[in-house]
Amino acid sequence: MSSLFAFTLLGLFTGAAYAIMASGLVLTYTTTRVFNIAHGAFGMVLAFTFWDFTQRQGLPTVVSLILVLGVVAPAIGWFIQRFVTRGLGEGPVSVALVVTVGLLVGLIGLAQQIWKPQPRVLLPFYPETGWQLGDTYITAHQVITIVCSIIVALGLYLLLNRTRIGTAMRASVDNPDLLKLFGGRPDTVAALAWAIGMSLAALGGILLTPVVGLDYFSLTLLVINAYAAAMLGRLKSLPLTFAGAMGLGVLESWAVAYLPTDGFWSTIRPVIPALFLFAIVVIMPQAQLRIGQVKGIIAAPVPSMTRAAGSGGVLLAFAFVLISLVSRSDVLLIGVAATYAMVMLSLVLLTGYGGHVSLAQFTFAGVGALAYAKLDEPNLFGLAMAGLIAAGVGALVALPVLRLTGLYLALSTLAFAVLMDKMIFQAEYAFKFNGVLATERLSILGVRIGSDRSYVWFMVLSFVLMGLFLLWLRRGALGRLLIAMRDSPSGCGTLGLDLRWFRVGLFSLSAGMAGLAGGLFAGLRGTVGAADFLYFQSLLVLLLAVVFGVTSVTGAMLGGTALMLLPVWQSSAPSLAGLLFAVLGFGAVLLGRDPNGIANHLFKLGRLGTGRLLPQWEQQFRLRLDGLLKPGRPAPAHSIDRVDEAVTEPMTGPMNQGVS
């Protein structure tokens, strides 16, 4: 019994630090509607900064603490709100997610660049001091953690309930526009929330460093713990968030105490936050459809099937020439690029067309690869099975969040990716811990594609076929439904579409496509292991897909190539490896607002090059002329005659009433 008490107490200490971190997340999310996936990453960078101040610069602990929590963190928070996340809350959830994932990757890169990998120790506060309580030893650091969490809780309570700016913050949660009308300043409120949120991320990170280690990735992943805790309060209630954090801390502590330390059970501890999260998500009530959200989006043009088939043919011919010219290792790299490009195609379906974000797409590829690796003599049927299994797993991930909306689905995928990465892929029945599985090349109708060159060309062919399938889908009824669902879920619902199952189907199809890519990848490599499908890879896939254009097949092709080149560049200049991540991440922050990406600019350039803009101008000119000559005729929408409309409907565009 006393050991139960001891472990519960220990859990509460960790939970207190989670609570501090989670309350920062809730504060920024409720006031600005931007869920900061990089919350843990900021905590990580600020913990490194604290280490830098205390260990490298040799500043006293108290001074460093004041500098980090009182100056650096709030300044970063203010900056990020002003220049990065401002206005994101009113847009589609997918954009906000991509931008903050960009921040996450960028911050990891930045940290790796500034603080090169080497063992670092951040000692707990007053490491020598502690007290014996019964048969439990309590350290000063633990007491400080719990005191900090109490101060944070009280401070936030007083701020939100007893001050003018706090009242404005709560008002901003309900309706920032209304707040502006009544003389409040939502921007100031948002900046303050982000400044405080960042300080809390820093404090949480610093307090947790002695527990999880000063590591780029573990501290970054604390966002899952914070998110899981915050979900208990539906990302709104601070008291419930504190309760969730404490509960999570205690669960983890009990897991350490009572679960076997070897075999399968030993892998559970790192994934408890993810499991905790799924449990909460399952019991959450149905989300209501919202009215007046996302409106029409300008997407990259959808080519006709003939044109697409023509481009596919050109690509195949080009790939054929390229594959026969380059060295063997480069041939394999082309295969890797094709894999990434196919996984990105699955994101074109999910994110580009459907407006949903998955942070686990490469994990689904891993599921496909695992299924493929288990086949004795893989043929097309086996490959299809690999895709189907990945699709089934995709459906399983989407099912618990069936009743919830985009943000929760996306965050659950991150938890799922971590779960697979740290537990399932390393299990005995999968790739095993640090292990690999040997894989065979694919056989078609009994003929094994033995040579690297033909296999890689087959992969390019698969990409082309998948791309054509996607475009065919987009041009048909399903494509229209996807766009309709992205533009107005409420509109679809009131026309009779069961959005929940439609979403599961979409997610499953997309996971299946990624699974196929994973199967082909496994065949290419000859051996695959858990290390090939780290969760972080899924974030990179998403970012590069968005940067190069997640609404077009061309974007997926370019993005896949770039992702293949990334480690090549990194290994050619190891000292700049982190910088490349930083450039990629922060580049996604800049480009994330336009999901059409670089590919769409290329399309525009192409049209400009072939002089197609000219006839368009000519057509517009004609329309205007027609309008002037026949004043009685109702105006075509894009002609200057819209002035007539402006008289009857002052100040309101046709579709932007939702944000007025």
Partner: protein, 260 residues
């Protein structure tokens, strides 16, 4: 058999604000029923409750003699409840024609997706022509004027053959001629057997086409009856008609509630 739609003692509270307070009204087959009241009276919230977008705090919605209060949005739509929105919910990235086609696709189910598109196209063109927006068929829905987009939402709802049609301020953005044509269209639809429930600020239109009118104020029905009876009701004049002409602000209470 009772009325097609019966709203039974519905209460909706947002935090401390009571948006709808024990509302009771009905909509009959073949009739046009008006739901009017000052801004913030709770009209749109009532629509959201009927279509399932808003769960009532208490009370019931009965449709075709069944309690549908716990049905999800899509199930009510499948059973013939169609609506348009005050704040437009047209699919902005799609053309006007494709907006209606999506409604067709959803209504027909997966089997309709493989149906020859020629017949569907013809039906869609007939529908667009009927509501009077055929000339906009190939425009993107987010580029057409407000009035047209509202008619598009009507066409979209009609594509699902609704038995009960809820129209939320359908005539705003239409000019006088268009409004007249719209009024005739409503009468035709009602004559074909549909029950139409309409929130509308254009009193001339309401008085001209409605068979029955319910007046909401502060979430409560303060009067019900024929246009003539409602027009002369002193409670209505006090609460509504006196300043209806000048009030053009947004429907704050109900909208905020619906969004939050």
């Amino acid at each position: 058999m009772g009325a097609l739609l019966e709203v039974d003692d519905v209460v909706v509270k947002f935090g401390g604000v009571t948006a709808v307070n024990r509302a009771n009204f009905t909509a009959e087959r073949g009739q046009i029923t008006g739901l009017i009241g000052p801004n913030g009276a709770g009209k749109t919230t009532c629509f959201n409750v009927i279509t399932g977008l808003q769960r009532p705090t208490s009370g019931r919605v009965r449709y075709r003699d069944r309690d549908v209060s716990r049905w999800p949005v899509h199930k009510r739509a499948k059973h013939g409840i169609g609506r348009t929105f005050q704040r437009l919910e047209a699919f902005g990235s799609l053309s006007v024609r494709d907006n209606v086609r999506v409604a067709h696709d959803i209504h027909g189910g997966p089997l309709a997706w493989v149906r020859p598109s020629g017949r569907t196209s013809l039906e869609i063109d007939v529908l667009l022509d009927r509501v009077g927006i055929a000339e906009y068929a190939d425009e993107r829905a987010d580029s057409v004027p407000t009035g047209t987009a509202r008619l598009l939402e009507l066409a979209r709802a009609l594509a699902c053959n609704p038995q009960l049609l809820l129209l939320d301020e359908p005539s705003s953005g239409l000019d006088e001629t268009e409004t007249d044509a719209f009024g005739e269209l409503l009468k035709d639809l009602a004559a074909e057997g549909a029950a139409i429930l309409m929130v509308e600020h254009d009193m001339d239109l309401v008085m001209a086409v409605c068979d029955d009118i319910h007046v909401l104020d502060f979430g409560q029905i303060i009067a019900s009856g024929t246009p003539a009876a409602v027009r002369t009701d002193p409670a209505v004049q006090r609460a509504y008609l006196g300043y209806a002409e000048t009030d053009h602000e947004g429907d704050h209470t109900s909208e905020m509630g619906a969004v939050s």
